[in-house]
Symmetry: C2
Subunit: 219 residues, 2 copies
């Protein structure tokens, strides 16, 4: 049990940090802790449709700038820079080998449950949410990947580390760089977001939010 | 600064709770705390494309069961049951009144920044991510709503409260119930997820996850 005030303080401490202190590095153990909280995230059917690439090589960071207008200052100054990748159709479709292997080898489900769950997953994709093309399936899998994104930023803030989530990039141009320069199979993975970690230089402007009364309805 | 072991313990404590103890209620102050951590979440451009409906009325809960195969036991037993709504095109499109009002009244941006940011948002929708139809725009806005989902489940776990995220529902059938019985304008809001809160009855099976080595690549 953690104190509520301390938790709220961390959520308030978190902001989209525009510029990081280049003299301060996140330690390996803190970065592994942050990634670990990402990995412990839930996802639909528990299929973990994510992969994280931590880009530390300055040349690769520089290349990413070409297609990421929202990331330039963070690529230059962040201690750690993470690409949030999401699995595409060949991995996420209900009849993929990945899904079957995952249920058997990672989730350690018995054969009859694998069959049952596989069939529910097929129905889910075909009817409940209409995930009938690559884009729709990618967007759905991408939603799952925003859960570890949130958790990594939250856990970072809780140990005094700043972060910045980034969608300011051209998806297809960035994915070309991922393919050509980072060796990522972009048939299997798409780029959902980038997220930078480090320590702030400047204090943020005060947080603005709609109030609880405006955002929540009780029925 | 919160202790890393305590934080990790909370992430490990969280699981998709299937059945809640009907004798134990989450207090109003704890529920407000959980919702508050959701509201403090970041979102693309900071536009907070979410609304939360807390459904406590037993008749309304019962109606929701008709279209939500994954929610039945949680609708019956959860202390608090939340619908995660996402803003649709009339609110989220770059030229909407909501966006302009939001930048002025909530974000309190000066007029020249409103113009600049509005124009960046238009470019973002038109080219960077191709958010050119209602479905694509909804899925993008929905991704943002998974950030407060994650944060609410995390903050709940940190104070010993269990949760269950739910996508096991038929979206269009559920939205019809939202419209007919809960008075929600489904032209403006779509249903992204449900999430239940309460206290566990049973201990979960051990958590399974791919390892850090499998999920993270350093470059």
């Amino acid at each position: 049990m953690i104190n509520k005030t301390e938790i709220l303080d961390a959520y308030k401490y978190r902001h989209a940090c525009k510029l990081f202190d280049t003299n301060k590095k996140v330690s390996d153990s803190d970065m592994n802790f942050i990634l670990e909280t990402g990995i412990l995230s839930p996802s639909s059917f528990g299929f973990e449709p994510w992969h994280f690439v931590v880009v530390q090589n300055p040349e690769l960071r520089s290349k990413l700038k070409d297609s990421a207008w929202g990331a330039t200052a963070k690529l230059d100054t962040a201690s750690h820079f993470v690409l949030g990748l999401t699995m595409r159709e060949p991995l996420m479709k209900y009849d993929s080998q990945y899904i079957e292997d995952f249920m058997r080898d990672i989730q350690e489900l018995p054969e009859n449950v694998i069959e049952q769950k596989g069939s529910m997953y097929e129905t889910f994709q075909k009817s409940d949410f209409d995930l009938s093309d690559d884009r729709k399936l990618f967007d759905w899998a991408s939603k799952q990947c925003y859960i570890p994104l949130a958790n990594m930023m939250t856990s970072a803030a809780m140990i005094g580390i700043d972060s910045c989530p980034i969608e300011g990039f051209n998806q297809s141009k960035s994915e070309k760089i991922l393919k050509d320069d980072l060796g990522i199979d972009t048939n299997l993975y798409g780029l959902s977001y980038m997220v930078a970690f480090g320590y702030r230089v400047n204090e943020p402007r005060p947080k603005t939010r709609r109030t609880l009364e405006k955002v929540v309805t009780f029925k």
